[in-house]
């Protein structure tokens, strides 16, 4: 990481936590401690920088095209787009394998893309086709890939954290049964609004008391649907809530993939090695409306606010950094965009030409078939 990025990280990343570290888990006491620690922080390799970039670019283009398809009436239903928040999913997912699980939100395409989702199966799902990840039974709000540990987007706010706690319980249980020291990790993604739900609280408490390998990633985009954070909770930093569960709380710049990568990396490693959960708050922003690209025309955000955040777009910011560091040239970056767009064009064609589900199969998969039933 270059010095410029470091300074930015120092500004944006503050660690908070209880004053008494739990069972040897080092919890920095204050912002000064975090800044002091950051000097020994991980440096992302060129490979990591490129990986972060590719994941963000894949999300951005996937979402832009998905939004157009919905608004052109080509794909049914409603889409909640992840545009603007790409650095969060990408920065976290670089640290995870297919054996690590995530739970997602109603704004979940970005999480699946970042976890290696294939565009063909994703667009096919948005089109309600049999070839989709969920065979057209889930659509945008339930898109999933259990084989790769993506336990679903979710139409219910804060439904993911308790499920992730269950997955983390499995991870700890199976590591014990199989005699492994390092555990798989479960990462629930959720918004600032979700932390007002009881389910979030129950999940965080359970993860903390059992020291489960969970990293709670809050995508604080400043709004619970249309309601600004200041009106839906009396704190400005969701990470403050971590103290109530006895776990470390971390704040990072959710518009900077490297900052997220760094904060998430430390928390994930701690979880993997038995140090218990962390709440990582990523300050981010959604560039488009709650639903779709054009949105529904409610003026709950000012143009000035939008412009301010758009100026911090995580993708050009990251590209500029890579160019300055000599990691990629502008031409190489453009080639990444072109390749992603080519994949998207081909995948949309695949989706449009895929078979629809057979209505005769409507009742399939309500239950797992058994010999007894």
């Amino acid at each position: 990481m270059g010095r410029r990025a470091f300074v930015q990280w120092e500004r944006s990343c503050t660690m908070r936590g209880r004053s008494d570290a739990r069972d040897g888990v080092p919890i920095p006491l204050c912002a000064e401690a975090a800044v002091a620690n950051s000097s020994q922080a991980m440096e992302p390799s060129e490979e990591v920088l490129k990986d972060l970039h590719l994941r963000m670019v894949r999300i951005r283009h996937f979402e832009e095209e998905a939004g157009k398809l919905m608004e052109q009436g080509k794909s049914p239903g409603a889409l909640h787009l992840y545009i603007g928040e790409e650095a969060v999913a990408s920065g976290v997912m670089v640290h995870l394998s297919d054996q690590d699980q995530i739970t997602s939100t109603h704004r979940g395409h970005g999480h699946l893309v970042a976890k290696g989702g294939e565009f063909k199966k994703m667009y096919a799902e948005l089109y309600g086709r049999e070839t989709g990840y969920n065979k057209g039974r889930g659509g945008s709000m339930h898109i999933s890939n259990v084989d790769a540990g993506m336990l679903g987007a979710n139409g219910i706010v804060a439904a993911g954290p308790p499920i992730a706690v269950g997955a983390a319980f499995s991870n700890k249980y199976l590591a014990r049964v199989e005699g492994r020291d390092r555990m798989n990790v479960a990462v629930p993604f959720f918004g600032d609004g979700a932390t007002n739900e009881g389910a979030f609280h129950e999940a965080a408490n359970m993860a903390a008391i059992w020291k489960l390998p969970v990293v709670f990633v809050c995508e604080n985009n400043g709004y619970g649907e249309f309601t600004p954070q200041a009106e839906h909770q009396a704190i400005s930093d969701v990470a403050d809530r971590a103290a109530g569960y006895g776990m470390p709380g971390v704040i990072c710049d959710g518009m900077d993939a490297v900052a997220v990568w760094e904060a998430a990396g430390e928390a994930i490693e701690r979880a993997r090695t038995g140090g218990g959960p962390t709440l990582v708050e990523c300050k981010t922003y959604r560039f488009v409306d709650h639903v779709g690209l054009r949105g529904i025309g409610l003026h709950y955000r000012t143009d000035e606010e939008l412009e301010e955040w758009r100026a911090r777009d995580p993708i050009p910011q990251h590209e500029q950094r890579m160019i300055e560091m000599g990691v990629m040239t502008a031409e190489e970056i453009q080639a990444v965009h072109d390749a992603v767009m080519a994949d998207i064009t081909e995948s949309i064609e695949f989706a449009e030409n895929s078979p629809l589900p057979d209505p005769a199969d409507l009742l399939n998969d309500v239950y797992t078939p058994t010999a007894a039933s």
């Binding site: 359970m206 998969d365 039933s373």
Partner: protein, 334 residues
């Protein structure tokens, strides 16, 4: 195997049959674990899980915080990632705290994911009135669960059935609610020592008869059987069927019986309006209308919260006398 066919001899009370069912489910699958409020150290409020912590240790028998959403969420996440959760929601009244996890997550995950998730989850919970525990610790809410595609619901009301239901649920790759009856905890019955299962979706014919079919579930099977005794003394031969599984429901056994007896009476402890009995009555009307000599009767709780005062609670909960009286109405002998 039904209760009637169980080998005579070994008697266990309902509580110990529960314990044995969970113990054997944990013994036969190392990926099975039990979690719930006070299930480990205390063995739950009626001691139904006593001894399991000592036998299986704290990694497999786990006291949770008082967090019903968290408990069902734990089961969903752990079940979808390879374990076999057996979780306890102490009193059924508490499912209001976790209905999202039950209805929107546990029940639907497999379907929403196009069949790419399996939820081998057992939920144990206690229902029913009769102990003066008032409106929030006495309800029979099984209809809520039966209305939700993706769940299976069994309501065992004998020691034999409760053990079998637990082992069946634990071996089942789908979410199963085992709704136990708190009013039957001291009820003895014949329970074989070895593990056994119940056929899913198969009713028990508790008593054969030819002039009236009484379909009762949960604790009401015992009141229905007493009512059949009363009616027998009056020269009426009533058949008593316990569906046992409310989801899936053994419609075939019920319809065959009504086709034979030409009269039907549906009984449960839950409130009458929108109860499982309404579904059973509707199915009888749809499938056996031509066989019926009289409208289908129903005996169930009135449309009110469960009252506290013993005199009110006794009025609220159906009993053998009310069942027999309704039977006489149906048969035109009342």
């Amino acid at each position: 195997m039904t209760a009637a066919e169980a080998p005579a001899g070994r008697q266990l009370v309902y509580t110990l049959a529960i314990t044995e069912g969970v113990r054997q489910a944990l013994q036969e699958d190392p990926l099975a674990f039990m979690a719930g409020e006070d299930v480990a150290g205390a063995g739950s409020v009626f001691g139904i899980y006593r001894g399991l912590l000592d036998e299986f240790g704290p990694d497999r028998v786990i006291d949770t915080p008082i967090s019903e959403s968290g408990i069902i969420g734990l089961a969903v996440g752990a079940g979808a990632t390879g374990l076999k959760p057996i979780v306890d929601i102490m009193f059924m009244d508490f499912i209001g705290e976790c209905m999202d996890e039950i209805v929107n997550q546990l029940a639907k995950m497999r379907y929403m994911f196009g069949g790419k998730a399996t939820l081998p989850v057992t939920v144990l919970t206690m229902s029913g009135a009769g102990m003066n525990l008032a409106a929030q610790h006495s309800q029979s809410l099984e209809a809520w669960l039966c209305h939700t595609p993706g769940l299976k619901v069994v309501m065992p009301a004998t020691a034999y059935d409760v053990k079998g239901a637990i082992i069946t649920a634990a071996r089942e790759p789908n979410p199963v609610f085992v709704v136990m009856c708190k009013g039957l905890m001291a009820l003895p019955g014949e329970v074989p020592e070895e593990p056994y299962t119940l056929p899913i979706g198969k009713a028990n014919v508790l008593r054969e008869g030819d002039s009236l079919t009484i379909v009762a579930h949960g604790r009401m099977i015992h009141e229905a059987t007493k009512a059949a005794d009363i009616l027998e003394g009056e020269g009426v031969s009533a058949e008593v069927i316990d569906p046992l599984w409310l989801q899936p429901l053994d419609t075939e056994t019920i319809i065959n019986s009504v086709s034979k007896t030409h009269n039907a009476l549906v009984v449960h402890e839950a409130v009458r309006f929108g109860g499982v009995g309404a579904e059973i009555a509707a199915q009888i009307a749809e499938l056996a209308f031509d066989y019926l000599d009289a409208p289908v009767g129903r005996v169930a709780a009135p449309f009110s919260p469960v009252p506290f005062s013993p005199v009110l609670e006794q009025t609220y909960v159906p009993n053998a006398e009310r069942i027999a009286a309704e039977a006489r109405q149906i048969l035109g002998t009342g």
